[in-house]
């Protein structure tokens, strides 16, 4: 979610001061950060005196505040409704599946020294598979991007979940041509901003010696 917000701001030339919050060190729970975001989660923004948490709420705020090009979060009622439909579905599907795998296969064992819970990983993989089927057959059906013919905040959020598990050699487009084409188009649109935002996750994977995770 942090990468999604970062790329959105870069794509739209929204100037910002970057404050690194070290999640591995638990900095999100520090007293200083809790004054920024009571929930103690990243990302968070502070725009003057106004603070916003939750990546999707932040993206919706930025799109309105900075009057970004309409395609990012269209004003048309039905176009917006379809993007909102994805944004809601995202939490319990894309995020739960992809981050479920990453968290339990990488962060748990390699950062928090917790044993792998194979049942939890298996459930996350099942969720991811169902998620990718829905993307392939519904959200991307007849569209180049999620529920739209142009890139939006929905694509940024989804892409960031998948690029994370690519570190485990999980190729979300392997058996799903719509997903494959979508992924390539979003990355192409983002250009250097994509590479910049993902440097850190590539470095992290190398540093943690992350290995391939089976996924069909």
């Amino acid at each position: 979610p942090c990468r999604a917000v970062q790329m959105f701001m870069k794509m739209n030339n929204i100037p910002f001061d970057y404050h690194h919050i070290d999640l591995a060190k638990g900095e999100q729970q520090s007293e200083a950060f809790l004054k920024i975001n009571l929930f103690g989660r990243a990302p968070a923004i502070k725009d003057g005196d106004f603070r916003v948490a939750e990546s999707i709420a932040i993206l919706q705020y930025l799109a309105a505040k900075f009057s970004t090009p309409d395609h990012w979060y269209p004003k048309d009622i039905t176009a917006r409704a379809k993007i909102n439909e994805y944004l809601c579905w995202h939490h319990n599907n894309t995020r739960e599946g992809a981050t479920g795998i990453f968290f339990n296969a990488v962060i748990g064992p390699k950062v928090r020294q917790q044993p792998r819970d194979e049942e939890v990983i298996k459930t996350a993989k099942t969720k991811l598979s169902a998620t990718l089927d829905m993307l392939e057959n519904y959200f991307l059906k007849g569209h180049s991007f999620i529920a739209s013919d142009q890139i939006s905040i929905a694509d940024l959020l989804a892409l960031c979940e998948f690029t994370q598990i690519e570190r485990l050699d999980i190729d979300v487009g392997k058996k799903r041509p719509n997903v494959k084409a979508w992924r390539e188009q979003v990355i192409a649109k983002l250009g250097s901003h994509f590479d910049e935002a993902h440097e850190i996750i590539i470095d992290l994977a190398k540093h943690l010696n992350v290995t391939a995770e089976p996924f069909e």
């Binding site: 009622i77 409704a81 579905w89 519904y138």
Partner: protein
């Protein structure tokens, strides 16, 4: 404008939230009762309405959609409902959006639904074994979620967004009131939550009672299944 078709089950928390909104705003709709416990969402026919096979879902002319929060956002725009439901002011809307997105993985999945699933539906309707430990953990999760809800959202306000009711309140109360049917009332020991609940009931009047009729009627069906809970 075509008449809205509303696919719902009054026992479903997000369905009640949308129903409350439709009724409070007198938006005419065709009620399409789709019963979860009879697996009516699993039919091929319903799959044509919603490929994800969840409720609530709406059909509005040629337009179909699912996800309760997205539906509420659509309805506020399409029917130009009073601004307080989902304010157009950027900062007021951001505050509500913060709640809406926190809601999914917190109030919805670590709230009232978790408790009713573990105590009622999984053991008695879906015939899955649920240990006492897992049941008790659901109450712990609910309390933790309520702590965050009070501290980060409700604070000292009458409603989540401030002085006026919004779609955030309808979603939150939908989830939090669910376990009341087994004696787990979220306002117990939490005067701010109780006051907030009363504010909602007052703001919605008879609409609130009507939307909850089926839930409290259902209490009669399940009262002998669940022993008293220490809450």
């Amino acid at each position: 404008m075509a008449k809205l078709q509303f696919y719902f089950d009054p026992l479903s928390e997000p369905c009640r939230s949308v129903q409350l909104f439709l009724e409070a705003n007198k938006i005419p709709y065709e009620a399409k009762l789709t019963e979860l416990l009879s697996a009516e969402t699993r039919t091929e026919q319903f799959k044509k309405i919603n490929p994800v096979q969840t409720i609530p879902a709406i059909v509005h002319g040629d337009f179909k959609m699912f996800e309760s929060i997205a539906i509420l956002q659509y309805l506020t725009a399409k029917f130009s409902t009073p601004d307080h439901w989902y304010p157009t002011d950027i900062t007021k809307r951001a505050r509500i959006n913060e709640y809406l997105h926190w809601h999914h993985m917190n109030a919805r999945w670590k709230g009232g639904l978790l408790v009713v699933m573990k105590y009622i539906y999984e053991p008695h309707f879906y015939k899955r074994e649920v240990s006492e430990e897992v049941k008790k953990a659901s109450i712990v999760a609910l309390k933790s979620t309520l702590d965050i809800f009070e501290k980060c959202f409700l604070k000292d306000h009458k409603f989540i967004a401030g002085d006026e009711i919004s779609i955030a309140d309808l979603l939150a109360i939908g989830e939090f009131i669910a376990p009341d049917i087994i004696g787990v009332y979220v306002g117990k020991g939490r005067p701010k939550v109780e006051a907030w609940h009363n504010n909602i009931k007052k703001a919605l009047g008879a609409t609130y009672d009507k939307a909850h009729e089926a839930l409290y009627h259902h209490m009669n069906d399940i009262k002998n299944l669940v022993p008293p809970i220490d809450y």
